[in-house]
Subunit: 293 residues, 2 copies
């Protein structure tokens, strides 16, 4: 029996179970202050069934290097009050269980590989487009880690400021991918949140274009076998088919693969686990043996 | 004893040996037609010492999937006469030796990991900026492969067409990274080849800016532990220090690592094997046991 926590910028999802068909208990906790939010998660696990390990998939940037002194911390996040927050060690200490810690998107990628849209693949990406943009995945069967971890949201994409003078919302980079195409960017650009703009073709055509530009970078660097696009904005109606079409147009036949042409709908796909990729992936992470005792 | 071939767009480098300190024979062959070029390479290996296997690092795009019927072929290259060229199987058949086949940049990455600037690393990139731009490397200790293989040159970077109206030289994408920052782009933009523009600060400042934009994408997607920049343009005097500085500026402190700040000169580095990364990497590739009998 494993525990999973997906720490998001607006809420934490906690669950106990062994997989999508065996979830024994769940709780959704609003993200307030670090102390209060972590306390509520601890309380949930104290009341739930005992678990052998807990997996945490966290918003970031995080330190997920098991040999680092700040392992299990959120590091430089611009989210007020959350920079340099100890999460992994705190959960480990207070619940006395081994903890596995990674990014939310790597956890979601692992969940999709175990039970969802990336089964049988060893090189693929999971990208979430919501309040921000994040990306993770696997290369050659290993979750993507390197110097730090991927931060897809902060790659730079072409931005024709004559056609689109919007300056972007990223506090670090202005018009990076996240600054132009996240839910935060949509709200700032159009004056209303994405969910109130469902019928606006102009909104979703521009959004699809920027999303596709970022995906072309990901395809060029990693050559994933599949790209899973989740998140509240990423799974908005009629976005993904536009993104698929834009990616094919942008690649322009350079890469010789059916999946990058007529079969693009099998290449850029929604998460098979829906909104549960992250918390289920956190459970998968707890079960992989990488948990730190 | 192993053979290595680096097939480049302008020349092929062939070598026989076991590593940088033990090269028994070499030959440089101008790239003309496929038949003539392959013939000359075959003749070299027939005259040289017998080898246990040959590694080939090829310009591309290539098919390096060992289970594909077009394994060992160059596929959609825009280079005249070279699309759909059988290289790996031809060498294998005519010399009756096992052949390992990968991209030129993955071979160079492997060479740098075995003997050069990536020793001890498991997640890093090798990028060449010459006639074109290519990139390869490793993630988690495996060479980067996925649906196809990385094609760093074709990622899209910001391009302010008001400040820089140059349309780019990529026949597929116009102003993709390669279209803006390759040696071909420099020659087209400034009317002279890069080597005749050594003293021109404006040339190298713009070049460094575009190179840095591409590197920021690579860092965002892969989080490499180090980036090796080779190639005739990539190793031009006074380019790399400008690129290092631009990357730090563009990242703007978002990613918390000394190597992306004050230690950037240890992060973006030239190849330790100089111009021999590719052919030595091809020898390394031949010795890895992935050669197809």
């Amino acid at each position: 029996m494993y525990g999973g926590i997906e720490t998001g910028g607006s809420k934490w999802e906690c669950a106990v179970g062994t997989g999508p068909d065996d979830i024994r208990d769940t709780e959704t906790i609003p993200t307030t202050t670090p102390d209060e939010t972590i306390d509520r998660a601890i309380t949930f696990f104290e009341r739930a069934k005992p678990v052998d390990a807990i997996g945490i998939g966290s918003f970031g940037p995080v330190d997920r290097n098991p040999s680092s002194s700040s392992w299990g911390h959120i590091t430089t996040t611009p989210k007020p009050g959350w920079a340099n927050t100890d999460i992994g060690p705190e959960v480990q200490r207070r619940l006395s269980v081994p903890v596995a810690f990674d990014t939310d998107v790597n956890a979601a990628a692992l969940g999709e590989q175990r039970w969802g849209a990336a089964q049988g693949l060893d090189t693929f990406c999971y990208i979430t487009i919501g309040t921000g943009i994040g990306g993770g995945g696997m290369a050659g069967g290993n979750l993507l880690h390197g110097l730090l971890h991927p931060e897809f949201g902060h790659l730079r994409v072409p931005h024709d400021t004559a056609a689109d003078p919007f300056a972007g919302t990223c506090p670090y980079h202005g018009d990076c991918w996240e600054g132009l195409a996240s839910g935060t960017a949509i709200r700032s650009r159009w004056g209303r949140p994405a969910e109130e703009l469902a019928g606006r073709d102009d909104v979703w055509e521009l959004e699809a274009y920027y999303v596709a530009l970022g995906l072309v970078c990901v395809i060029s660097v990693l050559s994933p076998q599949r790209i899973i696009v989740g998140g509240g904005v990423g799974t908005a109606p009629r976005l993904l088919d536009r993104v698929q079409s834009e990616v094919v147009t942008l690649l322009n036949g350079y890469l010789d693969a059916d999946l990058l042409g007529e079969r693009i709908a099998d290449y850029i796909v929604p998460p098979a686990l829906g909104r549960r990729s992250g918390v289920l992936g956190a459970i998968a992470l707890a079960s992989t043996g990488v948990a730190r005792p």
